[in-house]
């Protein structure tokens, strides 16, 4: 399980690069495989569409059962909403000694990449929430938004909006406005460290008017977060 970081080879660790170049089989979402094409040579490549996570991981496990070294690539960190959990769940269905061994090579997460582009919004406690309700009931997500708002966490939102999922981000705005001023800074990062990288600084009142899609990461500030000279900063609390 290899986290390839936000997208550029320059953001990958050498351990991740070696795991891919040293594998007999590389499995991943086609778009991610393109990002690392310079690391692919004579490995067997299994690329699938985005929603085919289970097929992809099952294919990886089957190759591993044949005794091959398989690298399954996730963008960002394989361990944060990535493929690491799914593969572990799948291999647990096989008994020892058949069960393939799974090593997880961490990567730079989308949160870290987005935060670096925005400034330093994650200098203090934060919550990470996915707004995708494909696999999670919306009530659970809404309860987490409410809890994160009440706890004054900086909040990082994965999967904030898609073509079919447009009301959820408005609901987040509504809940957060019950706890934080409308001037609370909100940062939006698109395609962090990839072609088309873009960042927007907004506030809780108006951020949902900005372009947000499934390639965006949204970071909502805590009560302490501020914007100075185009950088979003959550102070740690030092007296300067």
């Amino acid at each position: 399980m290899v986290g390839i970081g936000p997208g550029s080879i320059a953001d990958m660790s050498s351990r991740a690069c070696a795991a891919i170049t040293g594998a007999a089989v590389v499995v991943g979402y086609k778009v991610y495989l393109e990002l690392i094409s310079e690391l692919l040579s004579d490995q067997k490549i299994i690329g699938t569409g985005m929603t085919q996570e289970i097929d992809r991981c099952q294919a990886a496990v089957e190759e591993a059962l044949l005794g091959k070294t398989v690298a399954v690539v996730s963008s960002g960190d394989a361990g944060i909403y990535g493929m690491a959990g799914l593969v572990l769940e799948l291999v647990m269905q096989y008994p020892e000694p058949v069960r393939p061994a799974v090593d997880i090579v961490p990567g730079i997460s989308a949160i870290s990449a987005a935060a670096a582009i925005l400034g330093a919004p994650l200098m203090h406690d934060f919550a990470v929430i996915s707004l995708s309700d494909l696999l999670t009931p919306w009530e659970v997500i809404e309860n987490r938004i409410e809890a994160a708002a009440a706890g004054d966490f900086v909040v990082a939102l994965y999967n904030p909006k898609s073509r079919r999922r447009i009301s959820q981000i408005e609901k987040v705005r509504e809940i957060m406005l019950q706890y934080r001023p409308s001037t609370t800074p909100v940062g939006i990062v698109h395609h962090a460290s990839r072609t088309g990288e873009k960042m927007v600084l907004s506030d809780l009142d108006s951020f949902t008017r900005e372009h947000i899609d499934m390639f965006s990461l949204v970071i909502i500030g805590s009560s302490q977060t501020y914007i100075a000279e185009g950088r979003m900063i959550t102070p740690r609390g030092y007296s300067l």
Copy 2:
């Protein structure tokens, strides 16, 4: 601002390595400078003790004001409880065009490194909380623990315990036990990706009896987290 990852050069991005080898001055906590000693040659080195964050960052800003390219190293990700925010706060005290430009190079965070060692505990929503009350009132931290517990977040704890800070982790256990069963999995990772790396799997009832110190990262599972064959897994929710 350079995140050097959890400790091994193999976990650093090539962008981070280049930022350090290409700098005229490298500033950091002495222990972290030792971790990257193979990247240091004729750069000017400014190493300080652990609690001297402000001195360290001020020294970096002063070198930058002289026109030098300065790399300030943080372990893990410079943007997560790292030095990025402090340096941004310091440079904002200088007007344009004197103000030094600050680039933030993200790294693999301690959370990602610890999660990879434990299995896949961060496959679903999580909260990250530092238990250090040096710069944050304990009431704020306790409120966040309560909120994270109520929201059924997986909870990652930075700075869980030090020689002088021993009661806080017991208080966390107490609060979490009001919301989650005593069998909830808890993972503890020491020195992730460094000499002396060690991980322990425990549960909410008994994890505070394990060795925990300021080099440990503690991850408390959500209601969905389980342990199978020595791996800590929070399922994403796929039907397998």
